[in-house]
Symmetry: C2
Subunit: 375 residues, 2 copies
């Protein structure tokens, strides 16, 4: 289980052992290494104070920790014997819609007779605010949400448990250093603000969403839970995963011109079987473009703000990042007859990328099991 957690990775998380207070650790091989003595800001139940220190402190601390880990100078616990907590206190959570293949698939499924992409899609990274308070750590059970649903042939909505519960396999980006109200973060300034990357599952109740979302966007269809990995991979550990963006046509406006893709492989695992392999490198909009767009109107950002990519879907059917797409709106069952999530299903999102040490690193996984709706 320690594969991908070598000295070139060292993701940060918050852990506790029986009877001890939550504090910061790094994952190394099969262990969680207690780094709370390395800096005062690491002896905390959340990464926020450390993330706020900025890129120089991040680099220095990372190098410090690597040295002490290699020297065996820090206490280490077997990874399967510690409890992992939400690694940072979440401020605002923004979810984008940055995959061309995902946006096109959704358009084809819901508006089969029209142009799949809406007119704004190629001009800006479409996004919306989600609920920061319901971001939960990997492993937290997901209770099937209730709400209003109305089928196309029903005359009125009914209340009840969602019948079209879905996943969205995404990557999330965590702000370390915020920005002031009225200022902007340039498209070349990502690394001055983003501390690291998490895996993210934007659980979605498609029937609730379909009925509620006009004209103000998704609300209760998403706000019941968003799961993130317990491990935050520092941006520095993804240096070897930087790659070229796909061609953007039309050319983005100057404030959006820049950024790079990340060569992160994703696997969607349903009840133990890999059902899809979305490739993050195919995303149309880069993380740097998303952040530049988010702040172009002068919106401030804070330590702990989280922005996510939106569903990662590649061009091939077996690289789609949602069950909505994998089952083509529920009409084409996949993986031996599956459409949407059933009670008891467990979904695990796995992520890997080239590491700086020549091999691959394994980003934190995102797991969740569906529990029945409340009576």
């Amino acid at each position: 289980m320690g594969e991908g957690f070598g000295i070139d990775h060292l993701p940060y998380g918050v852990f506790s052992t029986r009877g001890s207070a939550p504090r910061v650790g790094v994952r190394y091989a099969d262990t969680v290494v207690d780094v709370s003595t390395v800096r005062p800001q690491l002896d905390r139940p959340a990464l926020n104070d450390f993330m706020a220190l900025g890129p120089e402190a991040w680099a220095e601390t990372r190098s410090d920790i690597a040295g002490q880990v290699e020297a065996g100078a820090l206490p280490a616990f077997p990874a399967d014997e510690v409890a992992l907590h939400l690694p940072f206190t979440v401020g605002d959570y923004v979810d984008f819609y940055a995959s061309l293949h995902h946006a096109s698939n959704v358009g084809r499924i819901f508006r089969p007779d029209q142009e799949p992409l809406l007119p704004n899609w190629r001009h800006l990274p479409v996004g919306y605010h989600g609920r920061g308070g319901t971001v939960v750590v990997s492993g937290t059970p997901v209770v099937r949400p209730c709400g209003q649903r109305k089928g196309p042939h029903e005359s009125a909505p009914t209340y009840g448990p969602s019948r079209r519960l879905d996943i969205e396999a995404e990557l999330g980006f965590v702000i370390g250093v915020g920005s002031e109200l009225g200022s902007r973060i340039g498209v070349d300034e990502l690394q001055d603000h983003v501390f690291g990357v998490v895996g993210l599952n934007d659980w979605s109740a498609r029937d609730i969403q379909a009925w509620e979302y006009v004209p103000l966007g998704p609300f209760l269809g998403k706000s019941f839970a968003t799961s993130v990995s317990a491990w935050v991979t520092p941006l520095a550990a993804l240096a070897a995963a930087r790659t070229e963006l796909p061609e953007q046509d039309p050319a983005p406006l100057p404030y959006l011109a820049g950024g790079h893709a990340l060569d992160v492989d994703v696997a969607v695992v349903l009840d133990g079987d890999v059902v899809s392999r979305p490739p993050y490198r195919t995303m149309y909009w880069s993380p740097a473009q998303m952040l530049a767009h988010l702040t172009v109107n002068g919106a401030s950002t804070r330590t702990g703000d989280l922005f996510a990519s939106g569903t990662i879907s590649g061009p091939e059917p077996d690289t789609r990042g949602s069950f909505l797409e994998l089952s083509w709106g529920g009409k084409e069952p996949f993986a031996g007859g599956r459409t949407f999530l059933e009670d008891g299903d467990e979904v695990v999102l796995r992520y890997s990328a080239p590491g700086t040490g020549g091999g691959r690193i394994t980003l934190g996984e995102v797991a969740g099991r569906i529990e029945p709706a409340l009576p």
Copy 2:
């Protein structure tokens, strides 16, 4: 200036005097009374710790403070000599769309040939998440935001300052006691969770919003600033303002059946002149219905979460709560030739309601002046 701030009101805020730390005070007549010695949770730079104590502590403290204020036992400062701060740390911010007249007007302006209300509108309080991190206190200047705008006759979007900057006159509701993930707040439980009410201006860049909002809703057209009053009126001070809701047709689903309207009068003041008088009592969805809906999917709430009503518009033209409606999409100038906001404009939202003492109370005003876009 002390009218409406009698002993039956006593709204809470956070203030500081020169060289002193921000702490909680109440507004009484022309003064701000320092209540930081009344409870340890009031000697804080935000109301959150106090709000988290719950309804019994709120009632006891309110009665305590009223006694001490009447006895002149607490330090008081002239209201125009203290600095007022954002009164609470904002968690998640949700904005609803609860006025039938506003939603109908917007429908008529943007889709003149269609049914003005969308099919879901009478079945649920439509809402979306806004940006909690850009909620600012009354008096904070509002810098005209930049972004992408595309007119209907333009072939591509351009980047620049918003040309259709607007207000939305709203009421906001502040959560004191949160609720757990997986639980619901019943429509009869508002008073167990909501601490108080603020005035709120949901500044809106209509041209940015119009281009970006499909399919995921408003984003940068709203996220640059949302202003709230410096004073939070406790729910108890609005007991005499409770009134019947307008008829709801169709009858709401059982989880939404309940709540009451609030008889709060609003005045929109542009550069010193009242240009509209929106009546909150005409709102279709009650605050209790909005909160029950927000949590029906099991979404948790936290101390400091804020939910707002959406634009308050009454049935008559001079009771509309946005310039979009007052100028009918910019086509019918109002107030001597005005359409959208110009640089240097100052907007003040004023609110009043029946008090429990027989007279009226004045809720905290929401003021903001438009500054030119950044170069």
